[in-house]
Assembly symmetry: C2
């Protein structure tokens, strides 16, 4: 059971966790990193398949190559935005791979657990959903540890496979940058920058069927 | 910043959250449900698209139909397991939809935020990954509130769409059963039942490239 102080701490971390793009070079203690990885490994997984691996990237050379892959993709995507929206997009800082002392590539192995993973037979993508839940655990743990984390999703998966020698059947779900920061945002960066607004929760809740906002 | 007690509470909930299939009929206070939904809505989302909706299912008639859809799928999947594994599978309790006072269908709308959601252009499934992160927040909040949650993934999505009037382009990611329980497991049910084992974290960690277990 959880007392009120414990509950408050849990809601505090859920509300304060932010996606961060600016990092200090200050190193991350090994024990802290291990606790964050343990938090990930305690994520739920369909059929208890635990499909994740964690590639800890500390090599400057590899970080350079990952930053190249993400910047290439950023420039390619900028072409799809027009006029002011394009300039606004190009002004956003979308990754901090070279600054962050560690980037963790979180992968999903769809073959783990054999051919008939309980529950995954119905909805195959539950393996990547499980991996996302593990990432959310890591993100909350990082915030609790006073660390900043950023989920980089600008890349072609095959570029990341090439750079990290990842086999073709393994899915590089995310590049998570991790480090200390002196710019921990109090709101989502895309909210403060005027890119998107937070929606009202009440408009997202339905009762007993789609689009029914009347409680029965 | 988080003090040691707060950190302990956060790791405690991450380690104690379980997937539960047995529920009491005791009702869930509305304020508790709202906090759990707020926790979900504070999940991270690619391009801040907030692609989720929450359908709160309390109608017995609708629960009956969902339970029918999951049981049909359970029996269909049993055919893929043979001999003792089949009997073991059929003995597992895989859902508690009719018992739980509330089931929440969490959906993902891939059209939300328009045609070019920042970050989702590179990896389209980041919308469902975001929704999974929201679900993990809800799961942790439920555990903190002394409630049990179970992720039911045995269904054909079109059955759930039919039952809940969900449009064809909306993805019914999960049915999350929610309620109090007197059987909160201290280990994953699939671990206690001998179905699967927890893997050693150290075997899942690589350094700088796939399959390299030597720290550099």
């Amino acid at each position: 059971m959880f007392n009120q102080n414990e509950k408050d701490a849990i809601y505090k971390v859920i509300e304060n966790r932010r996606d961060v793009r600016s990092f200090l070079s200050k190193p991350i203690p090994e024990s802290v990193l291990q606790r964050i990885l343990e938090a990930g490994h305690h994520g739920p997984s369909v059929g208890f398949m635990q499909p994740w691996n964690f590639i800890i990237i500390t090599s400057d050379k590899i970080k350079e190559r990952l930053a190249w892959a993400t910047d290439k993709e950023r420039r390619a995507l900028a072409i799809h935005y027009e006029n002011e929206r394009q300039q606004k997009f190009l002004n956003l800082k979308i990754e901090g791979i070279k600054e962050a002392p560690i980037t963790i590539c979180v992968t999903c192995d769809p073959t783990r657990g054999g051919s008939h993973v309980l529950g995954r037979n119905s909805i195959p993508e539950t393996d990547v959903l499980s991996t996302a839940c593990a990432i959310q655990n890591m993100w909350l743990a990082s915030c609790a540890e006073g660390l900043a984390m950023g989920w980089v999703s600008f890349y072609k998966k095959n570029d990341v496979r090439d750079i990290l020698d990842i086999p073709p059947h393994i899915d590089p779900i995310a590049l998570m940058s991790l480090g200390y920061t002196d710019q921990y945002p109090d709101k989502p960066i895309l909210e403060s920058s005027g890119w998107e607004k937070r929606r009202a929760l009440e408009n997202l809740i339905y009762y007993n069927r789609w689009d029914n906002q009347t409680k029965e």
